[in-house]
Structures are given as C-alpha cells and as structure tokens.
C-alpha cells in the first residue's frame, strides 16, 4: 500500500486553495449528507439496526477464523476456489496467476477498494495484462491516472469539463467536435466504449461488500450494473476481497444491506445487490465458468484484539467521509492514502504503519460527527486519539510539539499554576491585541494565524475565574 501521508500538510494547503475542488466538495452537503438524513429519518428501526450490526460484526470478528473456514468450505463445495493472501504482493500474484492460466489479456474490473489498496492495476499492467475500470468514476480516474478521492464516489473531485477533456483525449474513435457538455453525453459515451469491453474481456474482477459463511456467496452492492456485467460475461470471475468482509448468514447480511445504502447514498436499497455463489452450474445458460475468491489480510488480523479492532466492522459506506469537516475542506487526495477521511485515518496506520501514516491521526478536529453517523457505531474519534497517543509514545511527534505537550501536561496537572498561567496569558493577549481586539501574529503559532486572526480573550478573566465569581450572562 503506497502511502504519502507525510505530505498531508502541504497537500491540504494546496487543496484549500483549489477552487475546482471546493466546488466539487460543496455538492457533498446537498447530495450525500442530505439524502442520508432523509433515508435514516424514514426508518424508525435504524438505531436498532446499528446496534444489531455492531453486535453481529463483533461476534463475527471474535470467531473470524471459524467463519472464514466455513466460507471457504462452501465456496469449494459450490465449485469455486479460495486463495489466501497474507499481503498485497501475494494477492496481486494470485490474480496474475489465474489470469495467465486462462491466457487473459483484457480484464474488466468492478469497483473495489481492496484492489486499490493492493494497487492491482499497476501490477497487472506491468505484467502485460490490460485492466479496464468499468465503474464510471473509477474509469474517469483511470483515464486521468489518479487515485480515487472518495471510497464510493472516486471521481468526486473531477468537474464535468475535465471529464470531457479526458474523453476527447482517449476516445479518438469519435468525431472531435461531438458535444460533451452534458453529463448525459459523457455517460452515454462511456457506456458505449465500456459495453464493448464487457463483451470482449477474458476475466472479470470485482470486490465484495460481504462474504456469507452460510452459503459461500460473495456480495456486491452497486448502482451502475457494471459490477454485474463484469462478473457475468467473461469466462472467469475473480473476487478480490478481505477477511473482515465475512458475515455468518444471509439473515445477518440483511442488517448490513438495510444500513449500507441508506448511510452511503440515502437509497433504501442500491439498484443492484448481487449474491454470487460458485461458477455457473452445468444447466445454466450464462455466467462465468470459473470462480475465484482472493482473501486478503494485509494487516487486518494484526488489528484484532487491539484498540483499533472495531474499525474492522466498517462496511465502507463513506458516511464518516461525507460528514467530516476536514475531508469537506481538503478532499480525499490530501490524505495520501486510498482510504481518506476519518475511516482512512484510523485504518491506514493499521494497514501500513503509523510512521507512513504520519499526520493522519491529527487530521481531525475530533468533532465526533463521524461516530454519530457511522452505521456500525465505530468509535472513530477514540481510535484517532489512540493513534495520537501511540505517536507520542513512539517518539513520532516532532521535538518541539513534544516539549510543548510536556509543558502543557506539567501545568495541567497543577491547577493553581495552570490557572495562574492562563490568567496571565489572557491578560497578555489582550494587551498585545490592543484596540484592534485581534492578533494577526502569535509567537509559536504562526501556522494558525497565517490564515486567520485570533480574537483576544474577553475582559473579565478566564472561565474559571468567572465561574468562581458565579457570573451569569
């Protein structure tokens, strides 16, 4: 997993100044967030479903080895194959081996975050196999040689005229002066180009939203239908997924299905929810002849039994991302990980390392909105704090910040000193602010004052001093 989170601060600075990006991100409020709100309000049992989802997934994770073994047995019994991949490299090699065994040259792909995580496209390309993304958003960013900036809307950062430019550059088979102004024109063109790819691909690769231990089924939840054409038309269907996706039974999958689409796009149910079990049966008129499931670990098992185990309950709905004020300001690319936003800031240090994911645990105001909207009740702020503590304990925090925190901790443990210090500071700031009442510069806090002024503290002393005097306003 390629992580560039060390550049988060520079990336964020650039992102905030990017007018195109700001416009794109603004649609999140009226889009995903508003629609989720309506859908959740319309289902009185939503809270009970969240509790049930949490309990179901906690139970599954506590017995993960058993459910994975049962899942494997059922896949095998239905004529498919399960491949275990401890890391990204093993997963990529397994997929390549299967492709080579079937002399595949063209591979269609449904949207898969695990495939992004293991950088499967680059690996296949390097080995002479052409992967074609078929989800519209993924297709757009593949043409633009970019990473997804959102886990369910990978091209959310791209404006439609930028899509038109990419299509004109790539689809040279069409007249150069064709109209591509409207989203409809763009969609129709992509549909035409990709329809041909669906019909000629040798192998189809999808991810999985869930794996069912009871039946050995893999589940995808989509709106476009591309995932279905990807897995139904080629001779071989490969599912690239991870060990945390397993749930025990079909009934358990109902809990997730009722939470997932509502939390993601505000739909009661996505257009297509597809359960795939083994290859086509001898009497079936269509479907793939071969069915393979690649089960990736890549650091997930290591997270069990730790402070961040709960993140393995995640169903990748992106509600936390859609509601995060930091994501809303800087977008997904700034995070430097394929998993952006609160979920990414908790997951990335676990999958890669805290060193590589530097800055991510701090890319949060800990406002708590992510936890409030998480359908699986993952305590994301608590986990971000856990990674911050780890950073401190492992000396990953810069010396100046460490000394600052030490100094603060020293005074915070001595209330009398703390009150004296804050009282003194408040008076000093008021003096410095003078008649303007605000400070444009502050020693040691230049980063903060570069983009905003600090209003001076109000007269009347600190909160504690006023509380003592029982001032009520």
């Amino acid at each position: 997993m390629h992580v560039t989170s060390r550049q988060f601060k520079d990336n964020a600075r650039g992102a905030v100044a990017d007018a195109n990006l700001r416009q794109s991100l603004a649609t999140m409020k009226t889009g995903f967030r508003a629609k989720r709100g309506v859908a959740v309000a319309a289902l009185p049992e939503f809270e009970a479903l969240r509790e049930a989802g949490k309990a179901m997934k906690d139970h599954t994770l506590a017995h993960l080895d058993h459910y994975l073994e049962r899942f494997e047995e059922k896949v095998t019994a239905s004529g498919g194959h399960v491949h275990w991949a401890p890391d990204a490299d093993a997963a990529c090699r397994t997929v390549l081996d299967i492709c080579r065994r079937h002399n595949a040259r063209l591979v269609t792909k449904g949207k898969s975050m695990v495939a992004e995580e293991i950088e499967l496209n680059a690996f296949l390309q390097k080995n002479g196999i052409e992967p074609v993304e078929t989800d519209l958003g993924e297709y757009i960013i593949q043409l633009r040689h970019e990473l997804p900036s959102h886990i369910i809307a990978p091209a959310i950062h791209v404006r439609k005229d930028q899509v038109a430019d990419s299509f004109r550059d790539t689809h040279t088979q069409f007249p150069a002066d064709r109209p591509l102004e409207e989203p409809r024109d763009l969609l129709d063109e992509a549909r035409t180009v990709l329809r041909d790819r669906f019909l000629t691909a040798d192998v189809g690769i999808t991810g999985a939203n869930m794996l069912i231990a009871e039946t050995g089924s893999t589940v995808i939840v989509t709106n476009e239908g591309n995932g279905d054409l990807t897995q139904l038309l080629p001779r071989v269907h490969i599912v690239v997924t991870s060990i945390d996706k397993v749930v025990p039974t079909l009934e358990d999958s109902s809990i997730v299905l009722r939470l997932l689409a509502r939390s993601a796009t505000g739909q009661p149910m996505s257009t297509y929810t597809t359960f795939s079990t083994g290859p086509r049966r001898p009497e079936d008129p269509d479907g793939p002849e071969h069915f393979h499931v690649v089960l990736l670990d890549n650091g997930r098992s290591r997270m069990l039994g730790t402070q961040v185990q709960d993140v393995l309950r995640c169903i990748r709905c992106a509600a936390c991302i859609n509601h995060c004020p930091i994501y809303g300001a800087v977008g997904g690319h700034a995070y430097g990980s394929v998993y952006p936003g609160p979920i990414g800031s908790v997951l990335t240090p676990g999958l890669a390392s805290l060193e590589e994911a530097a800055n991510l645990p701090n890319a949060s105001t800990l406002c708590g909105r992510c936890e409030a909207v998480c359908p699986m009740k993952i305590p994301l702020p608590r986990m971000l704090r856990h990674w911050r503590e780890e950073e401190f304990a492992r000396h990953l925090v810069p010396a100046r910040a460490r000394w600052g925190l030490r100094l603060w901790a020293f005074t915070a443990r001595r209330p009398a000193l703390y009150r004296f210090g804050t009282g003194l500071a408040a008076r000093a700031l008021r003096l410095l602010g003078g008649r303007r009442g605000r400070l444009a510069r502050l020693p040691l806090a230049g980063g903060w004052t570069r983009v905003r002024d600090l209003p001076v503290p109000e007269p009347g002393g600190t909160f504690m001093a006023r509380y003592k005097r029982r001032e009520t306003h």
Binding site: L64, P183, S254, G287
Partner: protein, 230 residues
Amino acid sequence: MTDPARDSILNGIRAALRRGPLPAETRAALDRGLAAPAPAVVPAIARGSRAALVARFVVNAEAAAATVARVAPAAVGPAVAAYLRDHNQPTRVAVAADARLDGLADSGLLTVERRGTPAGDDAVGVGHALAGLAETGTLLMASGPDSPSTLNMLPDTHIVVVRARDVVGGLEDGWARLRTAHPDGPPRTVHFITGPSRTGDIEQTLQLGAHGPRRLHIVLVDDDPDAPAA
C-alpha cells in the same frame, strides 16, 4: 495439503485474539447458528397485510424510478406490448425460457427474438421474478436454466413479470423463498434489483441508464385474491 498462507492468516487471527483454535463445542454452537439463521431486526415496512404489502411494493418500486403495471393473468403479453409502444421501443423481445412466459406473444403484438440468453444488442429483455420485496420495491431474480442473469443487465429495456402472490414483505421473506426454491444453496447469481441502473459519478448528478438497463418496467400479475388491485 497444507497452505502456508492460509495457516499464517488463521493462526495470526488466533494469536491476535489471544487464543488457540476454538474448542469443538464452541465450533458446534457456531455451526448450529449457521444452520438455523435467525432474523435480527425486521422493520415495520417489511410487515403488513397482503394488500398492504403489494401496494407498498408498487409505491417503493416507483420511488426507485421503475414503472409498474398491474394486470390480470391473461393480459401480460398485451401489457408488455403496450409499454413498449408507449415508450417508442421495438417490440422484438428476448424472453427467459421460464414456462410462465410461454404465451407472451400469443396476442400477436410482440415478436419473440429468442428464448434464453440475450445477445449483446437485444434491446428488450423479459424475465420472471422469484419474488418482489415490498420493503424496498425490489425484484428478486434467481439464475437458472429458466432465468439467465445477463437478461437482467444487457438489454436497454428490462421488463420483469412478478406475481402478486410472490410479493413478500422484506429480505427475510426473500431468503425463505430462496431456500424453498433452492434447498441445496443459492443458485449462481441472485440479483436484488431496485429500479433501473444509475450513476451519480459525474458531479453527483443522478442519471438513469448507466451500464445496465435504462428503464425497468414491472408487470405485476394480480393473482392474489387477498391483494386485489384498487
């Protein structure tokens, strides 16, 4: 045959959970759970009288941008033809091999292009649903010799016949139908379809007709005396 990758993952899980392999009695208890799945939370929208469920199925399917026609059992073929005519679509159709769709062209208003798997350029596909879910206006389509899955995805216009008797409450009733029809485990592809294909990937503007069908029409056959058409 030992698989070192498999062992390393499973042992890694056990080590992280600070335990060895699960004791036999725990495994047996977990397997009993797998053999007798229990529903967790069934929302009120998945329950109701027969008439209420069928009515809710229609409302929710339409909310998902599908169209619905309620017809008498003998009127399925003409209903399909009328829809295609009204939407300026060709009346040559690819039809699933399902025997319940045998008389579709009897009225002379339709031409059956083929039975079974559609070709890539067939404009209209007609299939039969295993069930309809009132909860979300969803069609449950199970693959098999009578029901090719590509028929659900390839044609521009997807027409699905579903019987009122097969309209059930929610997902749990869907699983029950599926287990009854396929006691040895699910067929290769089980599609839950809610409306026509769509995307919001260009500037979050919702557009119908992405890679799958551009329109979904449901022909609801009124064969349930407990759920008469209004």
